[in-house]
Amino acid sequence: MNASYFSKVNIGIKTVIKGLTLSISYFFKKPVTLQYPHQKKTIADRYKGSIRLKTNEEGALKCIACGSCEKICPAGAIKIVSFTPEGSKKKQLSEFYVDLGLCIYCGLCVDSCPVDAIEHSKVYEVAERKKDGLILRLDKLGEKNV
């Protein structure tokens, strides 16, 4: 029984009160978490989500099927199928695939596009049940990748 015993008891009582008041003050504060499937965070303007193809005013795809995005893609995630109609020199896009399982969201395809036909969407919920589901066909507008 020395002085340090009672000073220890004193410190103990003080810290007990401090801990209780602090935790109960948090109890009455507003929660900081979001109830995810019901509430969603607003996405920042420059967020790099999965890529999508842009359209012009008439609703047609801007893509000219030049294939520069396919060439520059470091992960090899883009695959373009094109054809040249008879009597024309211009190629036309027939299929545009992106494999989100390979995509590293670097944005080089967006930068390299000469006609500004690709952009990042704000889609971040890209989970699928099967691996095949991650391969998206972007030239068919609508459904998931808009």
């Binding site: 935790s23 109890f27 900081v32 109830q35």
Partner: protein, 319 residues
């Protein structure tokens, strides 16, 4: 005829105890998760039912549906028996709790003694679980649990002894009747504080949860248990929280006494206020080391309880 009415009374009592037990197990687990959530700036369970009120029922259903696994190398008889030995004392302890002036299964002359001696049996179940699991974590947990229970039994008994000296009775209904004018917590604040601290230690809850310290012992004595057997341990734990709060209400907070509202409502309000406090403490403090736990009990709580008892006895003799 008398025998018949006795049987009916026994059946009704068992049914009543089971109802209180089930509702408490569901409500207390929900309350724990909600309070934990809000203290950590979360919301806790929100999906099943209104604000997640049915989460406990959903979890219980899941545990019932799970396969009962008996690991290799366990002592099968003890392993199977242990959860029930930890669980049945909690049902027996309900017998003496006075829920209201009329609602009490048995008003024993030695109700207080009965309650605390039955509560000791549950520790045996914990030790059996730890021993039979044949696992170092379980055994360490069980050994710590025994050491802790023996240590904290002393201040808990000493603190209620001062109540017994004042009320001159071990009968719980008489202790409640004594508090018709004032609550005993006003005369015995130190005993109340010692009781609550020791009760949290007896319940093996944070900050005294060394028997099931997650970060070092996985889950302590119930490491090897899964499915329904785990659920039995779990329910026993939450029933024990209710029971020690109910006993604190009876001994220190005037039991079922209170104005306007019916007695049983007052009883549950007071009890769940204490349950809330015990849950609150869990999320406010870190875990103590085993040596700190022991020195806190033997060097601080026990002398304080003895001193309190001495002063109480002195004043009782004086007046």
């Amino acid at each position: 005829m008398i025998a018949d009415s006795m049987i009916i009374k026994v059946i009704l009592s068992i049914a009543g105890i089971m109802i209180v037990f089930t509702i408490n197990a569901l409500f207390a687990t929900w309350l724990e998760r909600k309070v934990a959530g809000h203290i950590q700036l979360r919301l806790g369970p929100m999906e099943v039912g209104f604000h997640g009120i049915l989460q406990g029922a959903a979890d219980g259903l899941k545990l019932i549906a799970k396969e009962i696994i008996t690991p290799k190398g366990v002592d099968k008889k003890l392993f199977t028996l242990a959860p029930y030995l930890a669980f049945f004392p909690t049902l027996l302890m309900f017998v003496v709790i006075p829920f209201s002036d009329k609602l009490q299964v048995r008003d024993l002359n030695i109700g207080l003694l009965y309650f605390f001696s039955i509560s000791c049996i549950a520790t045996l179940g914990i030790f059996m679980a730890g021993w039979a699991s044949n696992n170092k974590y379980s055994l360490m947990g069980a050994v710590r649990s025994i050491a802790q229970s023996i240590a904290y039994e002393i201040p808990i008994i000493l603190s209620i002894l001062s109540v017994v000296i004042i009320t001159q009775s071990l009968k719980l209904s008489e202790i409640v009747n004594y508090q018709s004018k004032y609550w005993l917590v006003l005369v015995q604040p130190i005993a109340f504080v010692i009781y609550v601290i020791s009760a949290i230690a007896e319940l093996n809850r944070t900050p005294f949860d060394i028997p099931e310290a997650e970060s070092e012992l996985v889950a302590g004595f119930h490491t090897e248990y899964s499915g329904m057997r785990f659920a039995v341990f779990f329910m026993a734990e939450y029933t024990n929280i209710f029971l020690v709060s109910a006993m604190a209400t009876t001994l220190f907070l005037g039991g079922w006494r209170g104005p306007i509202l019916p007695p049983i409502v007052w009883f549950f309000i007071k009890t769940y206020a204490l349950v809330f406090f015990i849950i609150w403490v869990r999320w406010a403090f870190p875990r103590l080391r085993p040596d700190q736990l022991m020195s806190f009990c033997w060097k601080f709580l026990t002398p304080l309880a003895l001193l309190n008892l001495l002063i109480t006895t002195f004043f009782m003799k004086l007046f």
